[in-house]
Symmetry: C2
Subunit: 433 residues, 2 copies
């Protein structure tokens, strides 16, 4: 399967540069450090620090699960105007670890903030005192295991020493690799645009491969920009874009305790202040953030555990957007549909089954279903050009598109997912061993 | 795996006989015929007629899908006081077949009613004229394929000729085999009780192995009794029992277009008329119908596609029954939980994840999770006796019990499911080939 790194780039925005990951370079005001502290048996990076020397504005969206990890609780309490870093660990989710897990983060943030303050004093012209509650945490891995506080504490000094002030492509890839769990590929994306004549960079990395079903944010996604944008506008930009990107993907219908998507702006591009999201000067910026988020979200879906095919599901002309979304996810989460796609079987009856069980308002006599450009059900009846052989050929593609047209309204939704293969079972039957 | 046929019998009702399938014999007033008419490539029975010579009272519950098969539409229109038969075909669901599929049933019912009327004239003392709308249909198989009307019409004469007035164990098993699709085992159950001193038989058969997630009825289930009970009381008995039986099982979260559960009473036991469901004389009968339905439902779940383990999920002490049910099904439908069970991995973090995503009201500090008798999470903290090795041993069992205690209310629910194995993928990736 060729999910080559540029496969999902969409170059529709003439005014902006949607670039290749090869173009990822330095974002002024951001520093990265990645190390291995032995959280896994095998040697791999498992601790990544994104450090903002002069602080950054920020906004986050979180999982809608009723059981959230201790780091999400920590992040939600932070009310500081600027944050100075986000520490990402893999292998352990720090979820269902109770007060012990929370207190671990307290002690790590205290330790890390001291180390970073010392670094400021030795490195910077205007050293800043960094407070523990100016550090965010993202954790991903097994739920319910004791959080490896001591291992992390023993490695923060090394982590801070290894901070690189100038990023290049390799450092970005190291960071994207360092936050992975069962992912098979690092996920990076970038776009460039202008805000009132000033050039702006928007870089993103993400991880996520199982337990991906959104209600709000999903998986881990981090967007970095050198734009000068307030936290309040960042929050609005994130909210505006999350529904059709990270909230439009599903791998297995499961929702993590730890999902978060964050955006950070260092302000170092020094564009003029933007006072409202309606300011036409940031329209391009909003579109580019959307591109980066959609690109990352698609990469997450296409790297879903055991994926052999990338599936786009479009539901058109519904009474409500909610109906459109329910139909998309009913299809996207159906094990029967997903196994048929894995088996390259154009078993469209299962798509119909999933539409029926979605609970959406439908008129069976107006329902149409297509696979790619092949119309199957045409206003409730088998299309006259229906041909099983053509469909079987179509199912051999690596990218499958399912289009459902209800013809009873004007609302629509698009969701992204993958097929369900033997490998999903193999990965998940012995994840912890 | 030993799902021997008596594995799920529950003998708690002292006053009633919950019997072995070996005891299935004749139900007066019911006749059965099963034949192969070549709907499958391989030779197997695929057409089963249950025939009531003197008519039967009846009640049905159907799938909650918004896209229902043509036979469900047909059945829903029937308002006759008594029906005379139900014809069950496999291989083709007659769903998404539109008016053509409906008209096929019209012609088959006309043909079959004529054949049965002729049989009445030649066989019976008081021959009855059987009308087309006194015949129900149950269809199961692939959705969207043209309904094989002609094949069935060419075989109805043979089917009617092979009607057996006296059933024995072998005929019951043949019928249970004849309605199967991807099932690996026939599903039968029985109970006996008394209504006001009169001995009553309650026999049931079912099929269903994938696409099993209930909102109302699920899979195909047929209950037969010789009790003298009105259709209106049968309907109440069915409604009373469906929630904790056929609506408490799930295999893959998918809901069929064709699900139905029916109960038929021939009245040949000649018990005194029952005028109300509150009449204490039918309490035993209601309990026995529950036993038969629960037993069949468990058999369906335990024979779920690719199942290697049978899983019972109990959710206790919730604020509402809806919360308890949502938590049970969130766990039961989670591919991550199901693959962990297949892998014999006591990855209870995934159970916590599924609880969190259910949307139910929970207090994390009061949440307890057990696997069998092994307490893991005790009021939100890892229990002091938690031992990974003990849990790993427990996971080797063929029957797994997950118990979730919310400790915030008094409502509860129990659901039944199976694990998710490689075999599920194999069965469903090439179901049609």
């Amino acid at each position: 399967m060729d999910f080559s790194i540029n496969n999902f780039f969409d170059k529709k925005h003439k005014d902006s540069k949607i670039g290749h990951f090869q173009d990822l370079e330095h974002i002024d005001g951001l520093s990265i450090s990645t190390i291995s502290c032995g959280l896994y048996d095998k040697k791999r990076d498992d601790l990544v620090l994104f450090y903002f020397r002069e602080g950054a504005n920020y906004a986050n969206v979180y999982t809608q699960s009723k059981l959230v990890s201790e780091n999400i609780k920590w992040n939600k309490k932070i009310k500081e105007k600027k944050i100075f870093g986000i520490l990402v660990n893999t292998r352990n989710a720090n979820a269902l670890t109770g007060k012990d897990g929370y207190n671990s983060l307290k002690r790590i943030s205290l330790n890390l903030s001291k180390l970073l303050t010392s670094k400021q004093i030795s490195d910077e012209d205007k050293p800043r005192e960094i407070k523990p509650n100016q550090i965010l945490f993202a954790c991903t891995g097994t739920i319910g295991e004791k959080f490896p506080e001591n291992i992390i504490l023993n490695n923060t000094k090394n982590l801070v020493e290894k901070i690189k002030y100038n990023q290049n492509k390799l450092i970005w890839i190291k960071a994207a690799l360092g936050i992975m769990t069962t992912d098979t590929k690092p996920k990076l994306s970038m776009a460039e645009c202008k805000i009132g004549g000033t050039e702006i960079k928007i870089y993103g990395i993400a991880k996520g491969s199982g337990m991906i079903f959104p209600n709000m944010a999903t998986t881990l996604g981090f967007i970095f920009t050198d734009a000068n944008i307030s936290s309040s506008i960042l929050k609005q930009v994130l909210n505006l874009n999350i529904k059709s990107t990270f909230n439009a993907i599903t791998c297995d219908g499961d929702t993590s305790t730890n999902d978060m998507v964050s955006i950070f702006s260092t302000g170092k591009a020094h564009n003029k202040e933007i006072r409202s999201i309606k300011d036409p000067k940031i329209k391009q910026f909003i579109n580019c953030v959307h591109e980066v988020m959609l690109n990352l979200a698609k990469r997450v879906a296409s790297d879903g555990e055991g994926a052999t095919k990338f599936v786009t599901i479009k539901c058109l002309n519904c009474k409500t957007e909610k109906d459109a979304k329910n139909i998309c996810f009913s299809i996207a989460n159906s094990p029967l549909v997903k196994t048929a796609i894995f088996g390259e079987d154009p078993n469209w009856g299962r798509i119909a089954m999933a539409i029926g069980m979605s609970g959406a308002v439908i008129n069976p006599e107006k329902l149409s279903i297509s696979l790619g450009s092949n119309l199957i059900l045409n206003n409730g009846r088998l299309d006259k050009n229906y041909d099983e052989n053509t469909l079987s050929e179509y199912m051999k593609n690596e990218k499958i598109e399912i289009i459902v047209d209800l013809s009873i309204g004007s609302k629509k939704f698009t969701a992204y997912t993958m097929d369900l293969s033997n490998e999903y079972i193999e990965i998940n039957a012995d994840y912890r061993s």
